[in-house]
Amino acid sequence: MHDLLAWLEASLIGHAMRGSGVWTYGVVNLFHILSIASLFGSILLLDLRLLGVWRNIPLAAISTPCVTVGAWGFVVATLTGIGLLATKATEYQSNPFFYIKIPAILLGLVNVAALSRLPAWKQHRTRELSAAEQSKLAVYGGISLACWFTAIAAGRMVGYW
């Protein structure tokens, strides 16, 4: 892990983050927060729907905007996050919250991959789901909320360690 962090810190991204003005970190941080807000906001709405809130609204009506905004949020959060980390990457190697955050993100991604392979998810735009299928999706929604909440909570605490 140390080698990877040292490499990132010494990389072009690390140099650019450190050497391009006193506002660089703040501005990249701003976009990191905006993208996390988009990501978690859409995840919260979609997961609550999967967990059974707002059953009168069709799932597809919620999943369509949430998946798009959430996916873009994830891409921007990852890119800006790599920049923030690269600034002083080696300083995070002894930060316990960092080792909660990264696995929580990876677990969240595994959960997304698993959900998107389910027939119920693939077909939710074109047909009604059975009660059994809905409860199955609810499990993925619950895991998702737990993963992303943990990732964001640990990520915030990284700064206070």
Partner: protein, 126 residues
């Protein structure tokens, strides 16, 4: 009617939650001792204006290397401290607050004095 009530409930709850935040806000000073702390030493690594806080490293006469956490980059630069303005090897005096953990050699630094010139990176703090 129902949704309006839940909106006000949510608003009230968040107002309460936010009122508890200032104690912790902005990577606060809570992790550092309240008492003022002063120490002198030799600069090992000069000022870096990278975020989230500007930093430098200093070695005291017992050989301990201290991490000096300065203000955020813009505030540090505004105090007159620039990258390269204090070279490695320079003698500096530091005024600030030491980390609560006695095993951590870290100071949230308010003032740096070098060659009789003081850089006050947190002018609003004593």
């Amino acid at each position: 009617m129902h949704s309006r009530r839940s909106f006000f409930t949510a608003f009230g709850v968040s107002a309460l939650a936010l009122s508890a935040v200032p104690a912790l806000a902005h990577h606060g000073w809570g992790g550092n001792l309240d008492e003022e702390f002063e120490i002198s030493g030799t600069v090992v690594t000069g000022v870096s204006l990278a975020g989230p806080h500007a930093t430098m490293k200093m070695k005291d006469d017992k050989g301990n290397v201290w991490d000096l956490t300065l203000a955020p980059p813009f505030m540090t630069e505004r105090s007159g401290l620039k990258e390269g303005s204090i070279p490695a090897g320079a003698k500096v005096s530091i005024h600030g607050h030491r980390n609560r953990d006695p095993k951590k050699y870290e100071i949230k630094t308010e003032r740096v004095t070098v060659n009789g010139k003081t850089y006050n990176v947190y002018p609003d703090r004593t």
